[in-house]
Amino acid sequence: MVFTLPYGFNGKWLRVNLSTGSLRIEEVPEELYREYLGGRGIAAYVLFKELKPGTDPLSPGNKLVFATSVITGTPVPGVNRIVVAAKSPLTGTYGESEAGGFFAPELKNSGFDVVIVEGASEKPVYLWIKDGRAELRDATRLWGLTTKETVEEIKKELGEPLARIGCIGPAGEKLVRFANIMFENRYAAGRGGLGAVMGSKNLKAIAVRATGKTVKFYDEKKLVEIVKWFNDNWRKQPGAVSRSEYGTAELITPFDKDGILPTLNFRGGSFKEAFKVSGEVLNKTILVSKSGCFACPIRCKRDVKTSEPYETDPSYGGPEYETIVSFGPLCGVSDLNVIAKANQICNAYGVDTISAGVAVAFAMELFDKGVLTPEDTGGLEVRFGDGNGALRLLEMIVKREGLGDVLAEGVRRAAEKIGRGAEKYAMHVKSREIPMHEPRGKVGVGLQYALSPIGADHMQAPHDATYERITQHLTALGLTRPVNRLMLDHEKVKAVYYGMLWWGLEDCMGVCKFVFTPHSAGVLTPNHMVEIVNAATGWGMSLWSLMKASERAFNLARAFNVREGFKREEDVLPPRFFEELEFGSRKGQRIKKEEFDKAVKLFYEIAGWDEEGRPTPGKLYELGLDYVVAELYKG
């Protein structure tokens, strides 16, 4: 028998047990890659199969998965993100976050498609992987360091300036429930508290280096053709050029005018000083240079520099749209210097900028409404518009001091602790803070917030404006009827469902949501995705089979949550979104609760879930998830 190497993957997973110190290489059959592809698919498979229901996310029983996909390492722009997953300490659900940069292709070329970390170390350690070998190294002296210091120290210690490093900062060590994992101290697997999972395991960092390539692709020539097509065409797409020119901050002025810019803890949708924090002003004031990810010419990320009293270091990267709005309009702050400083504190200490900004805005509203007073907080009082106060409170969160210690638990737990009606102002779904997209002006986004398997998230499906015109890109996904951004009818529910499968596929593949249509900045099309997967693997996949793989991963993540006890009543929005927007150009607009509840019910029916939101045996069998049926319907 002639043994042939697979195309598109190594077939090797590294399993690290921090309790015992064991490092094992598992060889994985091709069938598993065909069914799960990578990223979310593989991570959800591992966590569903291996985690005991009810596991404390911050206990040694939780597992942390770093997953690449069958197209990671190809030279195609925007397809090289690392997917990280574990049971989330913020939500208690399946937790997942993705980061751009350079880590994923380095990991795959080092010989491993996936790293699974389990158990917990007695003392701080970091994992060092190089060219198919791995070791655990002492990290005692790194404990307490910021992310940048950690990256620099590890590179120095190893004598490997080209190593790629994912690490936690002090906030992850202190188990801040929305601590993140930072890659090269500027690319964040930001959401859901995966950094706290690393902290609970005493794992400070993972460093990886590949000096060659371990994976072969089936049709390298085709991949090069696709890259050439991308390079020849991206400048013809206004959305891509705009994103390159202004970064994600391009959204601020249009969203402000449209009344969908989250302001003052989601009370309103326009901010009178929005222009001051716009991408246009950022370009003219604090921008040093543009930067980007592996193989991508768009370079949508920003490097910024500000000076005293808000001095920042460009190597931490600049604030993106979500961060600008979280610490800007949401807190009533209009100083880009303050926002850039907040961004740096988050990246240095390692916390999610969205959750942190929402926590600060939540506290500001509590002071505003008299729920919190300086007497409760040892004299501290932070009001909307107080940039210095926002920075002070952020520092207290990342260091878990005073009121910051309460907010470090996330707004839901903080509201429970504070009491006195504070929960009315806690903006979250399944304990995860709401991102900077106002669902009262694009209601499908509300649906994805409620039905995302990871809690409130804006990157689960294209947003409503996408479905208003039928383009060839939507046609590729089977959507042929335009639907208005304010409609929440059956057409919208279907569009969001298909949208979630499409963006879910991108999370299986480790793909940037911006580079593929129908995203407004997209260049590659859904049909390109099929070409890329087949050029990488030689499998003969179709968009149908890829979308089915995404549906499989989506249902696995859902089944994980069902097994954890999540029910229909958790698929909701914070009450504020059913109330009228208080100000801005969409003042008075609200989501009708009856319509929303009906839409959730219809989503279940379209997805093949029962009235409680459980995937039905029929749906699970269709997706080849027999073992999930056995688990969810035992007894």
Binding site: K236, S242, T253
Partner: protein, 98 residues
């Protein structure tokens, strides 16, 4: 163009990319009755440069799918739409999540 044949149309540039190419947030144009959307976009490209025009017209002459055109609050797909007096034309990008 006689006054009685003249229509006034307001154009708003919502995307920062279009604002940077025109140097404007909005402008008003006086056009002849019977002017179609296609003619307006050609006029804007003539006035502000082909760099702007390429965001309206693809190489095959069709509407560039990456640009969103809204006339009086409704999305327009048809280049041959007739414009009327006091129409408001918004030119933007269908911005998605960030």
């Amino acid at each position: 163009m006689l006054l009685q044949n003249c229509i006034r149309v307001k154009v708003k540039y919502l995307a920062p990319l279009f604002q940077s190419l025109t140097g404007l947030e909005s402008e008003e144009l006086m056009l002849e009755k019977g002017t179609k959307l296609r003619d307006l976009l050609k006029e804007l490209a003539r006035a502000h440069g082909e760099e702007l025009g390429k965001w309206f017209f693809s190489e095959d002459g069709r509407l560039n799918q990456g640009t969103l055109i809204i006339v009086n609050g409704s999305i327009v797909h048809d280049f041959d739409k007739d414009l009327s007096d006091k129409d408001e034309v918004v030119l933007t990008i269908p911005f998605d999540g960030g």
